[in-house]
């Protein structure tokens, strides 16, 4: 396999799958859906960016994405930090427990919130049972439900990204700072957080990109009253069969993810040169 010819032959079958199963259809869909011109798709994008109903969906998608990103970093970083610094043998069990949900179906994970938040669910029944409320409050099909579901979904990703970053920061530095008289919180904010910031950037990017494109969670927990770009895309392509709308929604979603990934690699590069 030293010759260029053999290498190309090895590459070919994989390349064919990638082109037919991903690259060509994706590009074709964005520029020319069946029976719709490129101009029409772009016109539709312009329409969506000015229409109040569509803007609310875009705003909800971006807004909830940002909230979930912040929540995942705020909860995930401490978990990663404690696990990376702990010498307890429980820490490997807790790490496995944090990674395990990544293997588990999104449908199964999200379904749990129906049981917890539903009108007959655990929280509602508890509040009624304690006599705090007369009727179970509406928790399902709210933005809160979507935030909880997406946090559950993407927290493991945040933990892994932060964990590998924290683990690379020499624990001796913590001890040196503490030995020189810095408080625990000063060591944390002055040493651990800045040195593991590349991992935090990766975590935030992965969580945001995942949140603004996830389908199962907004579908099950948000329903039709709390539409997001993903559920809107499905509705255009399978319910109303509006190809221009579907492609325009897909285009907005893709651009959103690309811009955030681009920004994050820019931040990472800037951090690396400093």
């Amino acid at each position: 396999m030293t010759t260029r010819k053999t290498a190309l032959l090895l590459l070919l079958p994989g390349l064919a799958f990638l082109l037919v199963g991903f690259l060509v259809p994706s590009l074709a869909m964005l520029v020319a859906p069946p029976g719709v011109g490129t101009g029409e798709v772009l016109g539709r994008v312009g329409q969506m960016l000015t229409d109040p109903y569509d803007l609310r969906i875009i705003g909800r998608t971006v807004g909830l994405g940002l909230i979930v990103t912040v929540v995942c970093v705020v909860l995930g970083f401490p978990i990663a930090y404690l696990l990376a610094r702990s010498t307890s043998r429980w820490s490997s069990v807790l790490l496995a427990l944090a990674i395990f949900p990544l293997l588990l179906s999104n449908v199964v994970r999200t379904f749990g919130w129906l049981v917890v938040l539903g009108s007959q669910g655990a929280i509602g029944q508890l509040l009624v049972g304690l006599g705090l409320v007369d009727r179970a409050p509406q928790l399902l099909y709210t933005e809160l439900a979507i935030v909880l579901g997406l946090t559950q979904l993407f927290l493991p990703l945040a933990i892994i990204s932060c964990y590998s970053a924290v683990a690379q920061v020499d624990a001796g530095l913590d001890d040196a700072a503490r030995g020189l008289g810095a408080s625990r919180s000063r060591t944390f904010w002055g040493i651990v957080v800045p040195l593991s910031s590349p991992g935090i950037v990766v975590a935030a990017t992965l969580v945001f990109a995942g949140s603004v494109t996830a389908y199962t969670t907004p579908y099950l927990l948000g329903g039709s009253s709390q539409r997001m770009l993903s559920t809107q895309l499905f509705s255009y392509s399978s319910v109303t069969i509006d190809w221009a709308g579907a492609s325009a929604t897909a285009l907005i979603m893709t651009v959103l993810v690309f811009v955030v990934s681009g920004l994050s690699s820019l931040v990472a590069r800037k951090g690396a040169t400093q």
């Binding site: 404690l82 379904f111 049981v115 494109t213």
Partner: protein, 298 residues
């Protein structure tokens, strides 16, 4: 997050003597159990675990209910919903479809993906970084967008049936795992071993099967596991490319939840959970759990 320095300082004073004693005997680490002495971080960590794990426990609890609805607390204990779930034809049919698709797509992804890895890491190719980036690109494009694209262009545009379309799509989406995860173990393998085998007279094919492939085994196993799980759990592609004859299990379950609100889905979800635990234990025993996921996120 607000900087709550007050509770931190107050506990440092209390725990001060203990941690000084610990430092004297064990200089490298100051805390033994996770969370000790770090109340804010500890509280946030507990909250994180609650959000990740507790909803799953509720699914299991309701699956064993004796009642007819998804009520909490469950009414009595019974296995009736498990019995219903495993005899409900749409679920069993969809399970078979999901397994077929996941196994086939994994095998194809590895069969075409491992040669790509070899070409990238061992071949003399111009623009290697660009080629690798191209094979990793399915990770950045939203899956729902890919699903829509394949539906429009292959199923409607070319009149391809839904199973081949799904298979092509799932295979393309797994390519990043096949290329990057096996690439990580190939990068660790010393190329001079293969050269030594060639120098001793082995044919390129023989050198590959007797030297390179065994070195790649952990990477291939990790990639296969990730690919299988990703395909089996996939919703966005499988949702847009479904047909009446071929639907995967997650899509069928989503549809069922929307129509009726009984604990049968909880029972099916519990069975999937049990199977996933088995997969996780196997992964942990063979390559190590953290390693598999470490490979894709670094």
């Amino acid at each position: 997050m607000t900087r709550t320095s007050t509770p931190r300082t107050s506990t440092t004073v209390g725990a001060g003597t203990a941690s000084t004693a610990a430092r004297a005997s064990k200089p490298a680490r100051s805390s033994k159990t996770p969370g000790t002495g770090r109340p804010v971080a500890g509280t946030l960590a507990v909250a994180g675990y609650v959000v990740m794990i507790v909803p799953i426990l509720f699914v299991v609890a309701t699956a064993f209910t004796g009642g007819r609805t998804l009520t909490f607390p469950p009414q009595g204990f019974s296995l009736q919903w498990f019995e219903k779930a495993v005899t409900y034809a749409p679920f069993t049919g969809a399970l078979v479809s999901s397994l077929q698709l996941a196994v086939l797509a994994t095998v194809i992804a590895l069969a075409v993906g491992v040669p790509v890895t070899l070409a990238i890491h061992r071949g003399r190719l111009p623009g290697k970084g660009l080629i690798e980036g191209m094979f990793l690109s399915p990770l950045i494009v939203p899956e729902l967008v890919v699903g829509l694209a394949l539906y429009q262009q292959l199923m409607i545009g070319f009149g391809l049936a839904n199973f081949p379309t799904l298979l092509i799509g799932h295979t393309a989406l797994m390519m990043p795992y096949a290329v990057r995860v096996t690439g990580a173990s190939l990068a660790l393998a010393d190329p001079s071993l293969e050269e030594a085998a060639r120098g001793l007279g082995a044919s390129p094919v023989r050198a590959f099967f007797t030297v390179t492939l065994p070195l790649l085994r952990p990477g291939i196993f990790s990639a296969a596991l990730l690919s299988f799980v990703t395909s089996f759990n996939n919703v966005p592609l499988s949702l847009l490319l479904q047909s009446r004859d071929f639907r995967t299990l997650p899509v069928t379950m989503l549809d069922y939840v929307q129509q009726s609100y009984d604990p049968m889905v909880a029972a099916m979800a519990t069975l999937i959970l049990a199977a996933t635990v088995v997969v996780a234990v196997v992964a942990e025993r063979t390559v190590g759990f953290a390693k598999i996921f470490g490979g894709i996120n670094k």
